[in-house]
């Protein structure tokens, strides 16, 4: 049991840097498209690890099921909203950033 617990902790610790990098990207990237990219990519992976870690530490199966449900819902929600934000930005004719 202790092994699973420690494994879970490791997973959570792996997940955290993804969150941090996603947040840094949100703050520092030059335009809306790149920021969206940073946010969704990093956060989804980060959340995946955190959920995995918590599932490993969970004591009951229904907790695991709930965690998976949460993960699934967040995935659906964030991908859909990312798409919508990018679409709105395109419709407003915002040009993607380029190095020039």
């Amino acid at each position: 049991m202790a092994f699973l617990h420690n494994l879970g902790t490791v997973c959570i610790l792996i997940g955290v840097p993804f969150f941090v990098s996603g947040t840094v990207g949100l703050l520092r990237f030059p335009d809306i498209y790149t920021r969206l990219h940073a946010l969704t990519k990093a956060d989804n992976v980060g959340l995946g690890f955190v959920v995995l870690g918590l599932a490993l530490q969970a004591e009951q199966w229904n907790t695991v099921a709930r965690l998976l449900l949460i993960w699934l819902l967040v995935l659906i929600g964030s991908s859909a909203s990312c798409h919508l934000v990018a679409r709105a930005a395109l419709r407003k004719k915002i040009q993607p950033w380029s190095r020039s």
């Binding site: 030059p30 335009d31 659906i76 919508l84 679409r87 915002i94």
Partner: protein
């Protein structure tokens, strides 16, 4: 562990006012609203930290989510009326600065302002000092509530206070929501989507996926409210969010709901709550004095009806006005009302 918690506490304590300050200082209204929503989420985290899960649910759903949606929708209305394209671009100079002169330009009476600020600060210091000085009343009404829980018909203390001990408050609160819906209907018509605002197919399928799930969650929240965190307001808020999604995706069925049906759905909760309050008197108790054996059933019935109405009300508030009545009279009235008091008789 305690030091970790203290660190967390201090972060939250500092983050809340900082966000508040940032959002009011931000010259861009859109950003202010977004910051407001994130403040709401932090507040909800704070409620969890302070062991108030019911409040946390309500804050996340109503305080952050729906209020934020209302602000965004109002912002869009205002912008459309101003006919000004607001760019999402970061480097763009904000139009707000030119349109709404920031507080700087108004500083015509710096002395009066300084005095008022001084007074405010003095009062706040006094308040903080008195908070530190005064001993808190031990436990408040907590022990009294615990002592009477057996007679309420529910296990959750918050639900017991909300629906039984102080059910009259909740009755009036449901009336406040009804009043808000009534008021927004009295003020404006529903916002019509512009032709270029075609809903995205992704959104439509998302809505198709989520709305049934949300309805189940709402039912679960109402049901679980009798023993744990949850209840009519949280469930109703989830229903309201489902309604907002439906409106956003512009599902045609939603716009075709007949106005009479909408009205009945809005008043279902308030009316049922009121009638059951009266029915309690009929049975022989005081107002809202449920029969002790079946109190749980009464509360569940009231909560279910109220949750439906709260959901419809919140969605109607987001829709932002009364639906179009088929009668031409209404149309004509609207035109006159929008042209303002031209005939010199509205005093």
């Amino acid at each position: 562990m305690t030091s970790v918690m203290s660190f967390f506490d201090i972060m939250l304590v500092l983050a809340l006012p900082w966000l508040g300050w940032r959002l009011l200082a931000s010259p861009d209204l859109f950003r202010a609203v977004v910051l407001f929503i994130s403040l709401g989420l932090l507040m909800s985290l704070t409620w969890v930290r302070l062991h108030a899960p019911d409040v946390a649910l309500a804050e996340a759903a109503i305080g952050a989510g729906l209020t934020g949606a209302l602000f965004l929708s109002a912002l869009r209305r205002l912008e459309r009326m101003q006919d000004s394209e607001r760019r999402l671009d970061y480097a763009e100079k904000r139009e707000e600065e030119r349109q709404a002169p920031p507080a700087r330009r108004r500083r015509s009476k710096p002395i009066a302002y300084g005095l008022a600020l001084l007074l405010l600060v003095f009062f706040l210091v006094l308040l903080g000092w008195s908070l530190v000085k005064t001993s808190v009343s031990p436990g408040g009404l907590g022990p009294a509530v615990t002592g009477q829980m057996g007679q309420t018909g529910v296990q959750s203390q918050v639900t017991a206070v909300l629906l039984n001990f102080r059910g009259y408050d909740t009755l009036l609160e449901v009336m406040v929501l009804f009043l808000a819906a009534l008021g927004s209907w009295s003020l404006t018509r529903i916002r019509q989507p512009l032709p270029e605002e075609v809903a995205a197919p992704v959104l439509a399928s998302l809505v198709r996926l989520l709305v049934p799930l949300m309805i189940i969650v709402a039912g679960y929240l109402v049901w679980i409210g009798s023993s744990r965190a949850g209840g009519a307001f949280q469930g109703g808020a989830v229903l309201g969010a489902a309604g907002v999604l439906l409106l956003l995706a512009d599902v045609t069925v939603v716009r075709q709901i007949p106005s009479a049906l909408l009205r009945w759905a809005l008043v279902l909760g308030p009316l049922l709550f009121l009638l059951s309050a009266i029915a309690c008197m009929w049975i022989g108790g005081n107002l809202l004095e449920y029969p002790r054996q079946s109190a749980g059933a009464w509360i569940l019935l009231i909560e279910s009806a109220t949750a439906v109405s709260i959901g419809v009300t919140l969605a109607a508030l987001y829709a932002g006005g009364r639906p179009l009545e088929p009668s031409a009279l209404e149309e004509a009235g609207e035109v006159a009302s929008e042209s303002g008091g031209d005939e010199g008789e509205g005093e």
